[in-house]
Amino acid sequence: MFNIDMDEIDLEKTYDLIILGGGPAALGCAIYAARFAMDILVVGKTFGGLIATTHIVENYPAITSISGQGLMDMFKDHMDSLKIPYISDEIRSIDRVDDHFELHSFFQKFKAHSICIATGSERRKLGIPGEEKFIGRGVSYCATCDGPFYKDKSVCVIGGSDSAAKEALFLAQSVNNVYIIYRGEEIRAEPINKRRVYDNDKIEIIYKTKIVEIKGDTTVKSVIFDNGKEFEVDGVFIEIGSIPKSELANHIGVETNEKGEIKINRKSETNVPGIYAAGDVADAPFKQAITGVSEGVIAAYSAFDYVKEMNIEY
């Protein structure tokens, strides 16, 4: 299965369901919708979503341990077996036209009777001096992507989540030292990863500390702590959570909460009939690949019911 297999794509037809996103929630939705014999299309900016950057996934039931990329390769194979078309593009607006929706990107216009928004989230930024300047030159949001640049160097990971712990563990495989810098008093990683961090001689945790500036010349050389101390590092990996990518939802009147997450019910329905949401962009309190898949699957079932009610023949 390839990103854009034009043989599988009919740009003139009105699809039963267009799924927006490329992560587990979107692809879980696509796999179920395809099995419901719906005419579907997946349009995503990033195939694999954020989980593709996770170096190890150990909490996806029935798979003991796999890389995030490996897991998404399995999704890809599954999509391929069902001939599900995927387009690498980004929808910028959705409009209701008669009995269907029109979706516009810079490259094409699509039509669909129903939509599942599973656009995920993007990494939250620190918003401190030096961050933007050194992106790609010492500031990174993806250890899997950029870890190889820091072999035998010193790096810091900002954040105290399970993701931050896993980033630190991955980086410790190749760098000299990893410093987890966390404003809290105890990192919030899953116990198994917390133990691994504590047991790793290359990882040191600096608690109750924030960084207020990133400094360097052409690349990062140091960070400044909120106590004024300058701390030398070659790389800064920022892992402080993510922000839902829900701008599209607002455009068509889909309700979001104060965090910008799309409000859904137990059928993955939004307040707009025919529009569903799933995964990190939705308002579930516990966001995991498996829960995103679950919401996506339910969205597929709800969309199937919705389109069936429209008396569209299969």
Binding site: F2, I4, G48, T53, G68, F106, F107, R137, D146, T219
Partner: protein
Amino acid sequence: MSQDDRYKDIIIREMAKLKKTVKLKVFTCKIKPSSGSLIRECMDCNQFMALLRIYEENSNGMLTIEELCIDDNPEFTKKYDISRVPTILFIDEEGREIIRYLAAPQGGEIQPFIQAIFAFAGAPNYYEATIKQNLDRIQPSTIKVMITETCPYCPQVSTIANNFAIASKGKIRTVIIDIMANPDIGQYYDAAGVPYTIINDQKTLVGMVGANEILRALIGGNIHVQY
């Protein structure tokens, strides 16, 4: 199935679908260049060619890989400004370089490489209509995409850049660079993150960027859209 077997399986399965002929030039060397040479050997040429032969052998004769040893082909080496080996070139019928690979098409990079071969052979190109609509606003351009083998987003950016170059009929040229095999290029651009996309050595886009962001960087303004 191991990951290597899986990748080989993808090459075999996909290359069998190629219906039109494509010829690629690959520059290699027989003798490792000396340290003072202007040519740099970035990867093992024999291993590289063995990989490309898998593509060729499974294409039902549709893909031809022409190996050009730089020692025996100084004219071509000069014409195409080959400064490192191995280098893969996609050259169109008018002799224009469209895509240059300073990277092995293995792992995640298999997908964009095969897609480039198919698009080069005339398969429908999703971005073609919009590129053509905006072509008069695009200066002759080079998109350099720096990648690593472990980066999950790099193949997606490579795919977009390659498709842009093919759709532009010679106005855009793409260079895919494995930054680990070519660390000097990474150092030159101070790149320590991938995908790292450079437009005309002027604009830099770091991380996963979409087709619209690359096109906007190419034209320096709003994209003309007509469906």
